[in-house]
């Protein structure tokens, strides 16, 4: 099975984000970047598919040189090949999807895995756009994947329940938490990742259609208030929840 996993390099979830001087990008100084957590699920799923069906896994990323760190992590987890579609420009989801799709056309994989969204801009569009550009089906928010004789059965998470859908290969699958528990890269894997080359190519990315014009941080949360410390405070608490917070 020919498996491709598309991965993004995003700020660490624990980072305290500062908005840059241009007020439309973030200040990257001192920010740790990492393999986007949903993409990590996709890498793990790719490796499991390879372990089950044979074949190989390639990771693909579109972005600057810094993305190599994330590609290297995927190689350390056990992926065989990595390609970086080099591009330092500011892109929207379409631009990235176009660049990835152009490369994927030349690779003709059986299955393309994404995370359900990357945790930087949370657009959750690239995977679906790539499927559309390639003219294949796409299933998002997947928590269980079973492939049998070319038949692809996915369980999807939906509000308040699960939905089971069926499609066929080739297709795009977008991973949701719960799909698997990603492995740690082993120390041996990390050392052997050094010897696996990262192929670099210019990206054939698409033009900007949606432009980011401003970033703003959420309002600071107001300080908490202690209404009382024993049961005599309950009536007042109920009143505040009802009249001020309006939640009951």
């Amino acid at each position: 099975m020919k498996i491709v996993v598309c991965v993004n390099h995003v700020p660490d979830t624990e980072t305290k984000i500062k908005i840059g001087a241009d007020s439309k990008s973030i200040d990257k100084t001192g920010v740790n970047f990492m393999l986007s957590p949903y993409d990590e699920l996709a890498v793990e799923e790719g490796l499991r598919l390879k372990e089950k069906f044979g074949g190989d896994v390639t990771v693909l990323s579109l972005g600057g040189d810094a993305h190599k760190e994330t590609l290297r992590k995927a190689l350390a987890m056990g992926v065989e090949k990595a390609t970086l579609l080099k591009d330092e420009a500011v892109r929207d989801s379409f631009g990235i999807a176009k660049g990835l799709a152009e490369e994927l056309k030349t690779m003709s994989p059986d299955i393309i895995l994404f995370g359900k969204q990357s945790i930087d801009f949370d657009d959750a569009q690239v995977g679906t756009m790539v499927a559309e550009l390639l003219g294949i089906s796409s299933v998002s928010v997947v928590v269980k994947l079973t492939i049998d004789n070319g038949k692809v059965i996915c369980e999807r998470e939906i509000e308040g329940g699960h939905e089971t859908v069926e499609t066929s290969l080739p297709c795009v699958i977008q991973a949701q938490r719960g799909l698997n528990e990603p492995r740690y890269p082993s120390l041996k894997g990390i050392m052997s990742a050094k010897t696996k080359p990262i192929q670099e190519k210019p990206a054939a990315a698409g033009e900007l259609r949606v432009e980011s014009i401003a970033l703003r941080k959420p309002e600071a949360k107001a300080a908490g208030r202690i209404v009382g410390t024993d049961k005599s405070a309950v009536p007042e608490l109920v009143r505040l929840l009802h009249e001020e917070a309006k939640v009951i």
Binding site: E14, E69, R72, Y184, L187, I190
Partner: protein, 389 residues
């Protein structure tokens, strides 16, 4: 609780390679997920978390600097040090397990063992299918191991060992013990296997320190071992001392991990604990403690990094390892005590890691050569005058 973000005031990370960082971050995450959530329970019960063995082996934490043909990662010494740092940020007992397995068991088999011993034991030890221990210290010979009483006598088909070892990490758990004994007055290494007649390894109880680590006696009463179980390539006290150099190197890094955990805990606590209507972090005395901790951690990081680079280029001297072990463990212990004071009464509770680290470090400052012995090693190195006796 917020995820540990590392302590790196002087951007020491920029001196690490991409692989070194990935190794460190991987083990950091592993420790956050697998060690920290369970360790207090084990420390309280006085048990070693056995299910970590397979997980650590899968990750490749045992013998990670040894060649790939034995199933090892063949990493450099800086990466190995970073592994030890992160493990000890979890617990000194967990780090001790990995130190003993890697530096005190796999290393001597690799360096002084026969091909057959290496081929048999190293892959098993790397996979965690076999556990090892290292028996040098005796009830009456600690800082002065050259005086050891344990003896080996040659027989027609092997050797007979008699004697007793004490304070042996992993002793009760071990499938193979690297035991040091005198054969015709000369120190030699022997591989004593679990179940050999006359060999037992009862656990020592009642420790207030390293509670999540097994410490044992090794009792050897007329233990017959086959000829092929002697380590053939080398003799003399320098052999066990060379193993200790490997392990001490890892301990120098490990101490940074324990210190980081204490600093992190104290800093977070100081920012949120309110007294006199202010966070205690706003008092100058508290700030001085925090700055002192950070200062010592940073110095220890730079010391270890340079030590590791020297080791990787084959230029390190054992006195330099003593210098780093001595400094880093001493300061880690001071930091643990200072952190404890910042946490006030909460500092003695096992809801926080500080008291456990402080208690653990009391062992760490004693084992693998006491603080005093390392002082004397460096003292001799700079004055030319030995002051041991």
């Amino acid at each position: 609780m917020q995820k540990f973000q590392g302590v790196d005031y002087m951007n020491v990370d920029s001196l690490l390679s991409e692989e070194e960082l990935l190794v460190r971050n991987t083990v950091r995450e592993f420790v956050d997920d697998n060690v920290i959530p369970i360790i207090e329970k084990h420390a309280r019960a006085g048990t070693f978390p056995m299910d970590l063995v397979a997980k650590m082996a899968d990750l490749g934490l045992f013998g990670s600097t040894l060649p790939a043909k034995y199933g090892c990662a063949e990493m450099n010494n800086v990466a190995y040090g970073l592994v030890m740092q992160e493990l000890e940020r979890g617990d000194s007992g967990v780090r001790s397990f990995a130190s003993v397995q890697s530096s005190l068991v796999m290393f001597p088999i690799f360096a002084y063992g026969s091909e057959k011993q290496k081929d048999y034991w190293l892959p098993r030890l790397a996979k965690g299918e076999a556990i090892g221990c290292f028996g040098l210290t005796e009830p009456d010979f600690g800082s002065n191991p050259g005086g050891m009483i344990t003896r080996a006598e040659e027989t027609s088909d092997g050797y007979v060992l008699n004697g007793a070892k004490m304070w042996i990490t992993n002793g009760t758990l071990a499938d193979v013990a690297v035991v040091w004994a005198k054969l015709g007055g000369v120190v030699r290494g022997f591989l004593v296997e679990k179940g050999m007649k006359g060999f037992s390894a009862p656990e020592m109880k009642g420790k207030h320190s390293l509670r999540a680590s097994v410490t044992s006696e090794l009792i050897l009463q007329d233990v017959h071992i086959p000829k092929e179980n002697i380590l053939p390539n080398g003799e003399g006290l320098k052999l066990p001392l060379s193993c200790l150099s490997q392990a001490r190197y890892g301990i120098a890094w490990g101490a940074i991990g324990a210190a980081m955990a204490c600093y992190d805990s104290a800093l977070n606590y100081a920012k949120t604990r309110i007294q006199f209507d202010k966070p205690i972090a706003s008092f100058q005395l508290t700030q001085e403690k925090l700055v002192h901790m950070l200062n010592e951690i940073t110095k220890a990081q730079l010391l270890c990094l340079q030590l590791g680079r020297l080791k990787d280029s084959g230029k390190v001297r054992f006195q330099q390892i003593s210098f780093a072990k001595r400094n880093n463990v001493y300061h880690a212990l001071q930091i643990a005590r200072e952190a404890r004071s910042i946490l006030g009464a909460n500092g003695i509770l096992d809801e926080y890691p500080v008291m456990r680290h402080a208690a653990n470090l009391e062992s760490v400052i004693t084992y693998e050569g006491t603080h005093e012995m390392h002082t004397l090693i460096v003292g001799e190195d700079i004055t030319g005058i030995p002051a041991f006796v």
